[in-house]
Amino acid sequence: MSTPQPAMLVDTADSVERQTAPAEPTLDRVAGLARMRARRARRSPTVRPARRPRILMTTEGTYPHAMGGVSSWCDLLIGGLPEFDWQILPIRAGDRSHSAIFQLPPHAKVVGQIELWSEQLPRRRWMVRADHHSRESLPANLVRSLMGWEGSYDGLLDALVWCRRRPQAVRRAFRGAGAWEAFLGALEEVLAETHPDAGPAPQLDAVEAARLYQTIYWIARAAAVPTPQTDLLHVTAAGWAVIPALVHKQLFGTDMLLTEHGVYVREAYLAAARSASSQGERFLSSRLARGLSRAAYTAADSVAPVTEANAAWERGLGVDPEKIRVIQNGIDAPASYTDPPGNLKVVSVGRIDPLKDVQTMLRVAVEVHRRVPGARFEYWGPPTKGQEAYARACEELARRLGAEECFRFMGSTRDPHGVVRDADVVLMTSISEGLPMSILEAMAQARPVVATAVGGVPEVLRGCGIVPPPGDVHAIATGVATLLTNPKLAAHLGQRGFSRVHRVYTQKACLDGYRDLLGKLAGVEMAA
């Protein structure tokens, strides 16, 4: 049998079903095709396809189902680049609320959905003969390739592609008697690894192992979901969102762009460090995030962090510097601004989330109120889904600190610009950020900003804000009090921020950067 031509494999298979049918070429052959495509692409880097380029964007708990900075960025990008056909594949927790918060433009559509932790099984393809091929080594292979300190990229791809080819067999593979036993053996191997950078692994118990087994099962299930034909993969986080893209890239050789807003693995480690989980759970969750990020960095043809601070992390985590191209977020700033109202109001806009360190903000509010008695703090934004307990803890802390007089949780707002305009100072106390849109919005309204020195914040606020260390209540409170009691300085910093946004962080620059990069990766030249 002759080897099928790449064009036949990629361009003439119209349906998703066809792409995932069991009669596909073997993995080795497909990998060979991918390499062949890559060689051809190097020989002729710009190929102009007859149709509009299609981009498959994978999201994780964000667009189009949830509000937040990443979702706003997705909305901006998709709305601002109508020259591409956008295919959205969201990954989300399986629940009943399927309604999208964002309205998609005509050139974008949701092409499927990956539901995690749901009871639903992969959709049965009645016309395809049932595959009774079982592979009890699947969980063991996944745990070795994902959780090991070095891991195995090829082993991971092999396991994930197997899942895509046999979606009906994944559950059977995990429920088999030998699968659990093999998994435990592989996990013990991972725990016994020695590496100078890794430190000794903690001891795990059977419950922690079973929980990991369940998580690995959902990784396999995410890999089994079919992806449509596309010209470029755009992954919006180096975590779960990369799983379908990894498989697609391996099968069809499609190029992949990774955009990181926060550094996924860094945020996972932060969340684990702050959680009250056992050592074992912390170890497993951070190792898993590391495994997924490592795979995303290896697979990505280009990595586009939103700030130089993220790029530094990515280089430190082993991403080839040649692959990295920083494209900063941008904002459609107004042409003019109004003066601060002088109402001693301090505003913060963002989700209520441990990464935002709202509890430090509460302490800052109390300290500032002590120094500037008329000062009032408003926190605009809902709790992150799953962080309702943290939100309740924050409210409880506000009561304990006696902060009700000066601090209020305001809930969601549909007018973040208006909220910021009505403030004298904008405050952010996060312990992890990429390039926060809320700071750009404050600068666009010429409001002075006090924000902790994390991620891209020092870079953005250079010369136009106060940047105290994260968690330093005294330093943050001093910054806020200084601006409240010195309106001239506050106005000056606000104006500098306003002009900096117009100079550096424009929506046009952001969209031009992506237009250029996406066009190159998709094999077309785009006019700016």
Binding site: R96, L191, S432
Partner: protein, 446 residues
Amino acid sequence: MAGGLSQMDSTGHQYAAGVIEARLGRGAQDVLEAAVVLEAWGGVRAGRALSLGSRVVPPKPPRWTPGRLTTEEPGRRDGILSEAIALIMAILAVASWAGPLSRQVGTSALEHAIVIGLPLTLALQWAIRSRYLSRRSGLACLAHDRLALGAVAVLGIEGPLMLLHPYGPLAGMFVAIWVGGTVLARRGWALPYGLLLVAAVVGLEARLPAYPLLEVLTGVVLVAGVVAVRTGEEHSNEPAGRVGRALWAGAIGAALGGLLVGDPSLGWGVHGAFPALALLPSVLGSFWGGYHLWKFYDAVPRGLQGVTLTQANQRNRQGAAMRIFVGALLRLVGMTVVLSGAVILISQWTAGTNRVSLFVGFGCVALVTLLVNVLESLAYARWALFAAVASIATELIMSNLVLTHAPVPGTALIAGTLVGILVALPPLLRLLVRPGRVLATSLWIQ
């Protein structure tokens, strides 16, 4: 920021290790955690923090602490006593209907209605429980699908039954009353439901016309069911179970219902109250055993806390899974035996039966139901259905081909259930004896 950097320069990784220790209350797990902590709380730049490498990672493993457990029980278990009382009232009431109903509608119509109604009821109860009522927000899930369910109930079940004159309408009313009772019990209205059934007994004994009385009762139960669903729980995002799994569960329920009515020697509706009354001990035993099984979801992971990886797949006859299962089994058998003795003792005053074989038969039905139930809840629906179908097939063969004139009532039922037990028990024991495997491959991957 600047302070952090200068101190890093002056004292190097010792300072870094101190910052980590102060922030985490322990050493770093690996270089990444060290870098993350130093950047987030120590004011150290990412590149610098990452370059510290293994010097900030302690060489010894942390002291071991077992994992914390946050399991959630799938569903409500409040008001168990009232539910049990209501169950007794319901069985006694239905048993008391048999005499007056057979007098008014004829024994043949009543027998046919029960033979059709009981399997259908069990099928619907199993399916509804699988898809909706076994969930924490079961009633909210049910409310979400109310229109589709209403259409299925009217067009797929009640409509066709109405065409089967004269017993079809009676069967339809039985189905509505009994299935409605399941929903009312889930809402916590089991006692009012039981009282409704008792009121119907009083009406029948007072020689009120049977059909209008049952029509009124059906109407009241259905209205109460709708109110229960609408007022039950606030809107929830919890999804309902799989349709496919609910269909499997329904088929299992139907097979178990068929098992109850497949042996003509039991004489449903012919011999007055006795078969229904003989059900009481096994149903209550089953209820108690089933209630004990509810602990499964919590007790199995709890029992595995602190169990090392090398022991996580070992056989353990005293493990939590086996303990819960054997406990449920003993409760079922114990209560069935004790109550059966009591019912036999008082049979001369209740116009009931003193045929021991009937009690044994119904006890075996309860046992096979329990086994099949555990298999189904661990998502081995095919095996569970196979066991149930093997039971009913054996029963039908025995009653129609082998024991056409059985001297002892319930012999075919006993034979069928024994086959079901033999089919279901060995794989179940093989699974439950390894609690680690039960948790990982069955409880948490459904």
